[in-house]
């Protein structure tokens, strides 16, 4: 999609770009703040175990410009990295100890994604798990494997506003969770948290706006903010380390903890820390009687960050969100000069309130807008001007500096040389479980560079045994596994069902509204069935392929009728680049059954 938009000239222009429809309102914020196992905030990367020094780490992150006079913004990497380390370890991060670079964990594998985490649990190599705000027992593939994995843990901590299936994986719910509770030794700790409507803070949408929101309700019962729980965990662990000692506790005990109430950090305190602040006065090199940065002040933006330890910044791309001008994320001025759609004073957009990334690309090589009816930015002879914050140095001459300043060559890339396992161009592979052989490469099963753990390949079924293609999806009445806990939503879609075509129903003598069993190599579910015209058999490689549609909103907790999720059936494998599990295509069989006696 990005390649297509680039070819069509739809990058950096008004109404162009990509709009990822994310599954949650703040998933952009999750990746921005480095919650991926291989990232630290602002898309800086966790060092690998081979990068034993800061210099070694920086040596592959220099990003020298590849063309004369090109601007390569990642040249500032070290300023962002050192400021991040200063925000973590403050006075304990000095030039002499490479700003506490050693305190950072080092990766021995490319990343600890959820599939790898549960695989390690399954192998008995991961003993404890803190599960904050998600429900893996229904979200990740091959539920039988997940239950086995969770049963091998010594402890499981679940932080969630809802009583999730994951927190109750040990509880027997008849056929819906048929476990032998007595044989499970995992200690499970449920910590009730507040939900988004009871929190203050910011959400980042996929347009990169950080919108501040305020609590709309008082938390129920014993529910606590996630920040309170994390702070309490930290303080208690720190006290234990200080009392009892322990191997290499410095990264934890030396952390900066500047909050007014150490046990309950406030959202605005954290936002200010993320924005960044000045640790020491920085004199003006042209006039030593003046300072360009004053100790104790918030930095204006990441342009002020330095690699000498005089600035701290939690997440460089968010720098500017809460500076000396105040909480810019809380701005609610909906002015939109000349109706460009930029709304520059509504909330705050990273980076530096820029609303459209690569916006210099909206103008041609002479600096004039490609489309005069959609003007965004133009060169006025001396500088870039227009409706948005220029995504280039304001005085960078249009015919000299290319617009894609995050790439050392300054141009957009139709492909990447090294960043993706499955590349440089996307190629078509059938899913690991496919009703047909790959028409392009019949001997190749699945994606040859996808990661498959030992034992999972044997758990893949084939079309002889499982002739039907299944897929999973959401319904409009529900949001993931949350709204089944709400009585009203539960009444609007009360019970688990699967959907099949009229043709498959006729073939298998299945009646609309009746009961069916659907099973894969990995599991079996019982469901009501909806025989619908909305699903038609496909013709794939000359063969008729029937489809079983499996909506995903039911489990054994909540206000709906108890039911199953598609993950009882799905294979334990992710895509080759980012390990998103293969939920959209797998193989099953289906048969009519007699329903339970009501």
């Amino acid at each position: 999609m990005a390649m297509l938009q680039l070819i069509l000239g739809n990058i950096g222009v008004r109404g162009g770009g990509m709009n990822a429809l994310r599954g949650h309102s703040n998933i952009q914020g999750l990746t921005d703040l480095g919650l991926m196992s291989n990232l630290i905030p602002g898309y800086l990367t966790i060092p690998t175990e081979k990068e034993t020094t800061l210099d070694a780490y920086m040596s592959t992150r220099g990003f020298k410009p590849l063309r004369p006079n090109q601007m390569s913004y990642w040249q500032n990497y070290k300023k962002f990295m050192v400021s991040f380390l200063k925000s973590m370890w403050g006075d304990n991060a000095t030039a002499d100890n490479s700003f506490a670079y050693d305190y950072l964990p080092k990766l021995d594998v490319p990343g600890y994604d959820v599939l790898r985490a549960f695989e390690l649990m399954f192998q008995g190599k991961m003993n404890g798990y803190v599960c904050q705000g998600f429900n893996p027992l229904l979200s990740f593939p091959n539920r039988k494997k997940l239950t086995t994995a969770l049963s091998k843990l010594k402890f499981l901590v679940v932080m969630d506003p809802l009583q999730t299936e994951t927190a109750r994986f040990w509880q027997n719910h008849g056929e819906y969770n048929n476990v032998d509770t007595a044989s499970i030794q995992t200690e499970v700790i449920e910590l009730p948290t507040t939900c988004f409507a009871e929190d203050e803070g910011s959400l980042t949408n996929s347009g990169r706006w950080l919108q501040w929101h305020w609590a709309g309700a008082t938390p129920p019962g014993e529910a606590q903010h996630d920040t309170w729980i994390m702070a309490q965990l930290f303080l208690r662990l720190k006290a234990l380390y200080q009392k009892e000692g322990g191997a290499y506790s410095d990264p934890l005990t030396q952390l900066v903890w500047p909050y007014k109430d150490p046990g309950a950090p406030k959202p605005d305190e954290i936002a200010k820390e993320i924005n960044g602040y000045v640790l020491a006065d920085v004199p003006d090199p042209n006039d030593t009687t003046k300072t360009i940065l004053q100790k104790g002040k918030q930095v204006v933006s990441f342009a002020a960050l330095r690699d000498d330890g005089t600035t701290a910044c939690g997440c460089w791309i968010y720098s500017g969100c809460f500076n000396e001008a105040g909480n810019n994320m809380a701005r609610r001025d909906n002015k939109d000069p000349d109706d460009t759609g930029a709304f520059p004073t509504w909330s705050w957009s990273w980076p530096v309130n820029r609303r459209i990334l690569y916006n210099r690309a909206s103008a041609d090589m002479t600096g004039q807008p490609w489309d005069p009816t959609r003007k965004l930015l133009w060169w006025d002879g001396a500088k870039w001007t227009g409706y948005d914050v220029p995504d280039i140095a304001p005085t960078a001459k249009p015919d000299v500096v290319g617009p894609f300043i995050m790439n050392p060559e300054g141009t957009g890339r139709l492909f990447t040389r090294a960043l993706m396992r499955d590349g440089p161009f996307p190629a078509h592979y059938e899913p690991f479980e496919s009703p047909i052989a790959n028409p392009l490469a019949p001997k190749v099963r699945g994606n040859p560079v996808a990661r498959v753990f030992k034992g999972d390949m044997e758990q893949f079924g084939d079309a002889k045994e499982f002739p039907y293609a299944a897929t999973s999806y959401r319904l409009t009445e529900h949001f993931h596994f949350w709204t089944k806990h709400a009585q009203i939503n539960a009444s609007l879609q009360p019970e688990f069902f699967v959907e099949i075509s009229e043709q498959l129903a006729a073939e298998k003598s299945i009646k609309n509204g009746g009961w069916v069993r659907v099973w894969s190599k990995r599991g079996s579910v019982k469901a009501k069935v909806y025989v619908t015209k909305r699903i038609l058999p496909l013709t794939c490689d000359g063969k008729t392929v029937h489809i079983v549609g499996i909506p995903l909103h039911w489990g054994f907790m909540g206000a709906t009728k108890k039911g199953f999720g598609p993950n009882s059936l799905t294979p334990y494998v992710g895509d080759a680049n980012i390990e998103t599990p293969e939920y959209k295509a797998f193989l099953v069989d289906i048969e009519p059954i007699t329903g339970p006696v009501a």
């Binding site: 009203i488 009444s491 609007l492 609309n512 509204g513 909806y530 909305r534």
Partner: protein
């Protein structure tokens, strides 16, 4: 603009309308004085072509009216609950319809509920004074303290909308959020609708908005797109934009030409008044003859004891 013409967003500002007894134009089984003012007629417009079937309207309806529908079962369709209930005043009805001309599947989703008829069959059928009222802006509302639960309104309704509660034996249906409208809010369903498939305003505004929508639908090949504002009930204050207005019945049996049942018209027509007086006279005459033949009723001792037992129940 890529469009042939502008497609404006519908108005979402609602004027405050103080609804009071003085604004009633009809009151069941009784008469009202002529109102001193005429309120601007209002309407809810449901554009079936813009509906995505999310049921946010149902959810908002339950929330605002503080009702809860039972968690039922999957019964072979997306309709949930399976029908309107005394708690569920509105319901998405889903139909998978194959257009015989294009052979395309069209997933028709109609939001069912009270149509707020200009000529309300429920009100005309209602024998309880003041249980059903109509305001001069067109809203037909049920006044529950006056309802006797007889169910005549159900029979009188050409759209089969009211439902009788098994809990309090009173009839319930959509109020057009008369309580919200009275404070300048639109109906809860319209407010919740994410696609502006449900809009609310004056009937004039809604007619105008409907005309724009119909023009748009016709430009997209729906030659029979049109407004559903059935003349058989003198028009309604809930109207539909239908892509196939020539076939309303394909939308989960939306009546082609809804009319009040002739029995209700007979029951409430002027002729019945005199017929009724004659019947009453006849009953008096029969009673008089009965008294002459059978004598007065007397209370026996068993009757007294039974009455005491029933009334007292051991309480002082």
């Amino acid at each position: 603009m890529a469009f042939e013409f502008e497609l404006p967003n519908p108005n979402t500002q609602n004027p405050k309308v103080d609804l009071s007894e003085a604004d009633l134009v009809r009151r069941s089984a009784s008469s009202v004085p002529a109102p001193t003012r005429q309120l601007t007629p209002v309407a809810k417009l449901i554009d079936v072509s813009k509906c995505i079937g999310c049921k946010a309207c149902q959810s908002a309806c339950l929330e605002w009216n503080d009702k809860r529908a039972d968690v039922g079962v999957f019964a072979g369709s997306y309709d949930n609950p399976a029908d309107l209930t005394p708690n569920m005043f509105t319901l998405m009805r889903f139909t998978e319809w194959v257009n015989p001309e294009t052979k395309n599947l069209e997933w028709l989703i109609r939001k069912d509920g009270c149509m707020h008829c200009e000529d309300p069959g429920c009100l005309k059928a209602c024998p309880a004074p003041g249980a059903i009222v109509q305001y001069s802006n067109g809203i037909v509302d049920f006044v529950h303290e006056n309802c006797i639960g007889c169910g005549y309104c159900v029979r009188g309704c050409p759209f089969n909308i009211p439902r009788i509660s098994q809990v309090d034996n009173k009839a319930y249906k959509c109020t057009l959020c008369s309580d919200r409208i009275a404070v300048g809010q639109g109906p809860a369903c319209a407010k919740a609708c994410p696609t502006h498939a449900i809009t609310f305003g004056t009937k004039e505004e809604m007619n105008k908005h409907a005309a724009e929508r119909i023009k748009d639908l016709k430009s997209r090949g729906y030659q029979n797109a049109g407004l559903y504002d059935p003349p058989g009930v003198s028009g309604t204050h809930v109207m539909y934009v239908l892509h196939h207005a020539d076939k309303p019945e394909i939308y989960a049996n939306l009546p082609n030409n809804p009319r009040i049942s002739p029995i209700v018209e007979l029951w409430k027509g002027t002729a019945t008044k005199y017929l009724g007086l004659a019947a009453m006279g006849l009953m008096v005459a029969i009673g008089f003859v009965h008294h002459l033949v059978e004598g007065p009723n007397t209370v026996k001792r068993e009757d007294e004891e039974a009455a005491k037992r029933l009334a007292g129940s051991g309480r002082p």
